[in-house]
């Protein structure tokens, strides 16, 4: 039998560690989209005092290297401080797995980005972000590109489901071109909140559905 991956990649692929969601996660992130091939969700629980990652879970819509990297990265980050975890690189994750094919770099780097985004999300929520760049409509749009319509698996901006974004004195107004009773309206709303609310200068997010 000859497989295209190392033993360790196959091991993590077959038995991924720390799969799922954390009920009351402190930091959350979703990276990638089905349109680009792979998607990873990372959620963390952080000890407020020590700033250590107490728990971490991931989910993956992706190929073997995506799943294996998601799995190994959760093992590597668990117990580390946020500062330490931020520094985990794709190279380190790949080395830990006994190497990944170069052509698969883009599928596996998503997990690393997912971890960093989840940490960033925690820092934003807890006012730990030192970078105080004022939020712009472009920044909001960029973040909405990571919100998926679970049905099509495509992002809201790419599929032109965002009708309008307004930003005035810390209040962000977002119009979504979907009916209010759309089966995924609620989960989409939650995701938008999650992504935008944590920005340091956003006081309120109001989302309207009108498809």
């Amino acid at each position: 039998m000859k497989f295209p991956y190392s033993e360790k990649v196959l091991e993590h692929f077959r038995h991924p560690r720390n799969v799922g969601k954390i009920e009351d996660a402190d930091g959350k992130a979703m990276e990638g989209s089905p349109a680009c091939g792979d998607m990873v969700s990372v959620q963390i629980k952080v000890d407020e005092k020590t700033k250590r990652i107490q728990d971490i879970k991931f989910e993956s819509y992706g190929c073997a290297s995506n799943i294996a990297t998601g799995s190994i990265i959760t093992e590597m980050a668990k117990g580390k401080t946020l500062e330490e975890a931020k520094k985990i690189s794709w190279k380190q994750a790949s080395d830990e797995l006994g190497g990944l094919p170069a052509i698969k770099a883009h599928c596996s780097v998503l997990a690393v980005e997912g971890l960093r985004s989840a940490i960033r999300n925690y820092e934003e929520k807890h006012g730990l972000v030192t970078d105080k760049t004022p939020t712009t409509i472009e920044i909001i749009e960029k973040r909405l590109r990571k919100v998926m319509n679970p049905l099509s698996g495509l992002d809201l901006v790419g599929t032109k489901l965002i009708k309008k974004i307004e930003l005035k004195e810390g209040v962000a107004k977002i119009d979504v071109d979907l009916p209010e009773n759309h089966q995924f309206a609620n989960s989409i709303k939650e995701e938008i909140m999650e992504k935008i609310e944590s920005l340091h200068d956003i006081k309120k997010v109001s989302i309207t559905f009108n498809g």
Binding site: F3, P4, G37, V40, S60, N66, P150
Partner: protein, 389 residues
């Protein structure tokens, strides 16, 4: 961890050689290994020549064509290159520089067309509907006085959809346009009679029917203008130069003889069993292609919310060989142009798995596949962030 015997379900890519084919080929490696000489050559060469002629007769009789209308090639890639480039080159002199193909053709046709486009040939890429059928009205509307050739596959390589080539060939005949079809995935599996359907060129191959790899052929209706592009000797009625692959040709002919109507019915029943059980027993699945108008050996199903390479790798570890339209699996890292062509999104392509059956598959294997798939799909969906709300 691993099953001893691989259950091979990628017969559209390559098939296991039938022992009877090997047996037929063997004497042409060890006894009659001479070049096929002219009728004035030495005895072994004459024997080789006669064997080649007999093989040609066996193959062309399946098409109800004459043996002089068939050229052996190195496979269907060469056959389709030869047909498309040969015709376009031949008719350029008459200022006919327009080629029509469908968007979901296999790579030899698609990339021959793209290559010709760079050289100034106009190419129309026809859309297909959700099943993969070419729109006949769009086809008619695309024809101009410059149209030299229409190339529409008999059946699709990934989703198995069988085109209405009867209707297409009638349109071509009426408009006096040459018609080529790629029958790599239908030859001997579905009837193809050139006396009933006015086809001008047909690509066929041995590797899909338990024959040897590297052998194929092109049917060329008598009188079809075709520029020779493999130059050298005068083999194959001076249509294609190069030493004849006599064992290959013999093997191809034997492989053709061995495909029976009964076998095709058996494949169809296995296929229907596979499709109906997967769709019924695994949720969030979509059949790609048409439920009835598909090749006897092809099933193609999308398992939503998960990625195809993960499925194929798990299946591989359980001893099954299949293929997927996922970008992660392909050498080009591009998602299947066929699934995208039938209006599917990337998600549908990524989760698509092609199962193609052959002579050595049986019901027990298919049942084992279905059980294994249920486990794998459920495990992968547990990991996926999609489709849970």
């Amino acid at each position: 961890m691993f099953d001893e015997k691989m259950i091979y379900l990628d017969n559209a890519s390559a098939t296991r050689l039938d022992e009877r084919v090997l047996k037929a080929m063997q004497p042409y490696f060890f006894d009659t290994y001479a070049v096929a000489t002219s009728e004035f050559g030495y005895s072994q060469g004459i024997e080789a020549r006669e064997a080649l002629q007999k093989a040609r007769e066996v193959i062309t009789s399946r098409l109800n064509a004459g043996p002089e209308e068939f050229v052996f090639t190195s496979g269907s890639t060469e056959s389709s290159n030869m047909a498309i480039k040969g015709v376009m080159m031949a008719l350029q002199k008459q200022n006919k520089n327009h080629l029509i193909i469908s968007k979901i053709e296999d790579f030899p046709i698609l990339y021959s067309a793209k290559n010709l486009e760079k050289q100034g040939i106009k190419v129309t890429y026809l859309d297909v509907d959700k099943y993969g059928f070419v729109d006949l009205e769009q086809l008619k509307g695309s024809i101009s006085k410059d149209t030299a050739l229409i190339s529409i596959q008999h059946a699709n390589q990934e989703i198995g959809t069988v085109q209405n080539i009867e209707a297409i060939s009638e349109i071509c005949k009426e408009k006096k346009i040459l018609f080529h079809t790629d029958a790599t995935h239908t030859f001997t599996r579905l009837a193809l009679d050139v006396k009933k359907i006015p086809l001008d060129l047909i690509s066929v191959a041995a590797h899909t029917i338990h024959g040897p790899k590297g052998v194929g052929g092109l049917y060329i209706r008598k009188g079809t203008p075709l520029t020779k592009w493999m130059d050298g000797g005068f083999q194959e009625f001076n249509r294609r130069a190069g030493l004849e692959n006599i064992p290959g040709a013999i093997g191809f002919a034997r492989a053709v003889e061995l495909v029976t109507a009964q076998e095709n019915e058996q494949l169809m029943s296995l296929r229907d069993h596979l499709i109906s059980h997967i769709l019924a027993e695994i949720s969030q699945t979509t059949l790609n292609g048409h439920p009835e108008r598909r090749t006897p050996q092809n099933a193609n199903i999308t398992f939503h919310f998960i990625e195809g390479e993960s499925i194929t790798l798990h299946l591989d570890m359980h001893g099954f060989a299949v293929s997927t339209g996922s970008a992660c699996f392909s050498r080009s890292l591009e998602a299947s142009h066929v699934i995208l062509g039938i209006g599917g999104d990337h998600e549908r392509a990524h989760g698509s798995i092609r199962f193609t059956l052959g002579r050595y598959n049986n019901l027990k294997e298919i049942d084992k596949l279905i059980e294994t798939l249920k486990e794998i799909i459920s495990e992968l969906r547990k990991i996926s962030p999609l489709g849970k709300d």
